[in-house]
């Protein structure tokens, strides 16, 4: 028995020595002590030495969670020749010391937990591990910069990748940007080597217009069904564009956020990959002109929706973000034509759009003399349910304010902000540069924008909190720095993948510090902004980490699975198969004689089956009824003992 101080984490809240002394008096306990840090090298050596000297056949460490340090001590006892499952972990930190300030009660609670743990330890059974084959292939869902980076990193390690993208082309939001902070580079220039690299990689299969429709299996061996919408244009399309020229239907291009037009048969933008055109069935009037003019007969209205199944060992989710829709903040009148978002401005600045890259007032094409940028629209706002700071908008506002100043040196550009967040190398410098460009910074969050009913003019109401004066700014255009939110449809995909989500809607990471690229489910990794808003620098780093975590599972070629899974006692099984109906991962089959039979690979050791079984025939190894009963007895006996003494 080893009771850990965990520095002050445990010893600061309860009497560790008293717990160790108490344990020494329990039946079956040969040796008991306390130690400052059991997980330190000295702590582990202490445990091994005690096993050797006292010929111990079970160990109990009362410290932190099973998740955190069971493996550390299990490895130590294994090195001493015991089965690793002969080690029992009792959690007196998360369950006791971290959740109380009551010294006496904490000490008592720790003692009762130790009493229960010692009882349990006596009944623990040895458990073997099994090597499971893994499928050396990864599915990456979402082909923004995160998905592309992860796909490339994996393919370069020799792991084949299936890249699934719901849009007709790959690249995500980065392809919509005009410049990228903090270097003001052209994003298409920096991204296109990766885009082309992915498109031409022999180990990457790209599925556009595709979404995941079903997920089965578990880490190392998932079966994923992907549904692909018809493109109505075959791959032999040479991208000559004749179809688009003759198509009579024209309307705002989604990819240009309405600042450009497209036809019903189209390519979202000139460098789009794949370069094959797409027919948009919803807007098509089926005049058939495109079919007639296509020189290679690529247009085919009869193409059908397709479903395909893929067997993969790991899944990387990189489905990105969406821009917050400011229409909800009615005081900002986003429905007004001269009030636009930053993403819309990024598109307006592109040479291929309606303004040919010029900054013009949308309502009448006038060159604006005054532009107001408003920060934290839909971020840092409890009213709309987004308490978090997006952490990117300050930087892109500095970027775009500078670009407006460059295009229109005589235009007044204001940034109304609560705090400018520009942390890290090169970012504060970028802020200073923006200040030097003559942008007017007003520290205050505008309360409302009032459109003039007769003129195109807008008035922004804000307090300059540095002078303490409420001020009014007349503006020709207002640009809203709308925050980044989780993509709206993510709930459905998350459900299929069995992922936990944070209350803000993003995919919940396994651990904010130690596993930001892992999800709540083993074998499913997170890359980029689907885990939370971040800029491209951090997205790329995060995606690299996700690729490496996915590869970790697959490069060895096998997984080691602990067989503390469910097991059926045929003598008790009455073949009712209640277990099989409740088993979520579908791990229970029927053997030739009709008895329930557990597939160890799929079993998650959740114990639901054990609860459903009317006769107690199905049990989880090391969590058998008999073992749990003994643990509970340990707890109750201790409490009765104390109760009697008082």
């Amino acid at each position: 028995m080893f009771v850990c101080h965990c520095g002050e984490n445990i010893a600061g809240k309860l009497d560790v020595e008293e717990v160790a002394e108490f344990a020494a008096g329990l039946p079956n306990v040969e040796f008991s002590t306390d130690n400052l840090f059991m997980c330190s090298k000295q702590g582990v050596e202490l445990l091994k030495e005690a096993v050797r000297r006292h010929k111990l056949n079970r160990t109990v460490v009362a410290s932190c969670s099973v998740e955190q340090h069971w493996p550390t001590f299990a490895r130590a006892v294994e090195e001493m020749g015991l089965n690793p499952h002969m080690h029992e972990q009792v959690n007196i930190r998360e369950w006791v010391s971290w959740v109380t300030n009551d010294w006496d009660n904490a000490t008592e609670k720790a003692k009762s937990a130790v009493a229960a743990g010692v009882k349990m330890a006596a009944l623990k059974e040895p458990i073997e591990t099994q090597k499971l084959d893994v499928v050396k292939k990864v599915m990456v869902i979402g082909a923004g910069v995160a998905g592309l980076r992860a796909a490339m990193d994996l393919a370069e390690l020799g792991i084949p990748v299936v890249l699934v993208e719901k849009e007709p082309s790959i690249g995500g939001h980065m392809t919509m940007l005009n410049k990228t902070f903090p270097t003001d580079e052209c994003p298409m220039c920096t991204l296109s080597p990766l885009l082309n690299g992915v498109a031409n990689h022999p180990d990457i299969e790209i599925l556009t217009l595709s979404e995941v429709s079903k997920v089965e299996g578990s880490v190392g061996n998932f079966v994923v069904e992907v549904t692909t919408k018809p493109r109505y244009v075959h791959d032999n399309c040479t991208s000559c564009g004749r179809c688009s020229e003759v198509c009579p239907v024209e309307f705002p291009n989604e990819w240009d956020m309405g600042f450009g037009m497209r036809k019903a048969i189209y390519k979202p933008y000139p460098q789009a990959i794949p370069s094959t055109f797409t027919r948009d069935k919803k807007h098509c009037i089926e005049c058939g002109l495109c079919e007639i003019v296509c020189p290679v007969q690529a247009v085919d209205f009869s193409m059908k929706k397709e479903k395909r199944e893929f067997n993969v060992g790991a899944i990387v989710v990189a489905t990105g973000y969406e821009q917050y829709d400011p229409v909800e903040i009615t005081a900002y009148h986003y429905d007004h034509p001269n009030i636009i978002t930053q993403l819309e401005l990024e598109r307006m600045l592109a040479p291929t759009t309606l303004t040919k890259g010029k900054i013009l007032r949308p309502s009448d094409g006038k060159v604006p003399e005054s532009v107001v940028i408003i920060q934290c629209v839909g971020s840092r706002n409890d009213q709309v349910g987004n308490a978090y700071c997006t952490g990117v908008c300050c930087m892109y506002a500095l970027k775009n304010a500078g670009i407006i100043k460059e295009h229109l040196p005589n235009t007044d550009v204001y940034i109304c902000y609560i705090d400018i967040r520009a942390p890290g190398l090169y970012y504060e410098e970028y802020y200073k540069k923006a200040q030097e460009k003559g942008i007017i910074f007003i520290r205050g969050r505008p309360s409302n924008i009032e459109p003039d009913p007769y003129e195109e003019k807008l008035t922004v109401f804000v307090e300059d909190t540095f002078t303490g004066e409420p001020v009014e700014i007349e503006a020709d255009m207002v640009i809203l720095s709308a925050g980044m939110i989780a993509p709206k449809g993510f709930g459905k995909l998350g459900g299929k993948l069995g992922l936990l989500r944070a209350k803000e809607g993003f995919a919940k990471e396994y651990h904010i510090k130690m596993g930001p690229m892992r999800s709540s489910r083993e074998g499913v990794l997170l890359a980029g902004t689907i885990q939370g808003p971040r800029d491209i620098t951090k997205t790329v780093a995060h995606a690299g980490a996700a690729a490496s975590a996915a590869a970790q599972i697959l490069v060895k070629g096998f997984l080691e699975k602990r067989l503390d899974t469910a097991i059926v006692d045929k003598d008790l099984c009455i073949k009712c198969l209640a277990c099989s109906t409740v088993c979520n991962p579908g791990a229970i089959d029927v053997d030739v004689d009709g008895y329930a039979f557990v597939n160890d690979t799929a079993c998650k050791s959740c114990g639901t089956c054990a609860g459903a079984c009317p006769t107690g025939a199905i049990q989880i190894r090391n969590f058998r009824d008999a073992q749990l009963k003994e643990e509970v007895i340990g707890l109750l006996e201790y409490n009765r003992l104390v109760g009697a003494a008082q």
Binding site: S447, V462, E463, T465
Partner: protein, 177 residues
């Protein structure tokens, strides 16, 4: 105690110097004023603040710091309770309610303008802020309404009871008279 080389340094209020009653009163109202991020949305929303010295953000700041001067100044009385700031505060703070809490506290300490004091006295006496004088009674009659409306004015016992309790103001104090 730190020493300062300035003759009359303005020091931040420290433990013991803060007006805990302000902080407690706001807390009782279900209000964490420390969550205010001083963004100024309230000031910019404030119609009264365009014409008067009221800067809602500063009121919130002083209250959060437990600075009792907020109760003595006339600013809190300049609020028209239009609830614009309440409606727009991105931290979802009940800004207008906070002002009302501060007014209650100020009144309890006798910081109340003499005209406001008069209104309360009239209320205590007649049950109405605007008394039902002969002219009003005449108009009511012409409209076919009873002479005295079914308000507090009609229930002299209750009015007297309230005059002894709710409408009791602390004696005059401060520079507000």
């Amino acid at each position: 105690m730190s020493s300062s080389s300035f003759p009359n340094p303005v020091r931040v209020l420290r433990r013991g110097e803060r007006d805990e009653e302000i902080i407690k009163a706001l807390k009782n109202e279900g209000f964490d004023i420390n969550a205010c991020m001083q963004c100024g949305t309230c000031t910019a929303s404030c119609l009264s603040g365009r014409w008067t010295a009221l800067t809602v953000r500063k009121v919130m700041r002083k209250a959060a710091l437990g600075d009792s001067s907020v109760l003595e100044s006339s600013d809190i009385w300049m609020c028209t309770t239009c609830y614009n700031c309440y409606d727009r505060c991105p931290r979802d703070l009940k800004v207008t309610d906070a002002i009302i809490v501060l007014r209650n506290l100020a009144s309890a300490r006798g910081f109340i303008h003499k005209n406001h004091r008069k209104v309360v006295q009239i209320l205590a006496k007649t049950g109405h802020a605007v008394p039902i004088n002969d002219k009003i009674q005449q108009v009511r009659k012409e409209l076919g309404l009873p002479k005295i409306p079914p308000t507090l004015a009609k229930y002299p016992e209750e009015r007297e009871l309230l005059a002894k309790t709710l409408f009791q103001l602390a004696p005059e104090e401060g520079d507000e008279q």
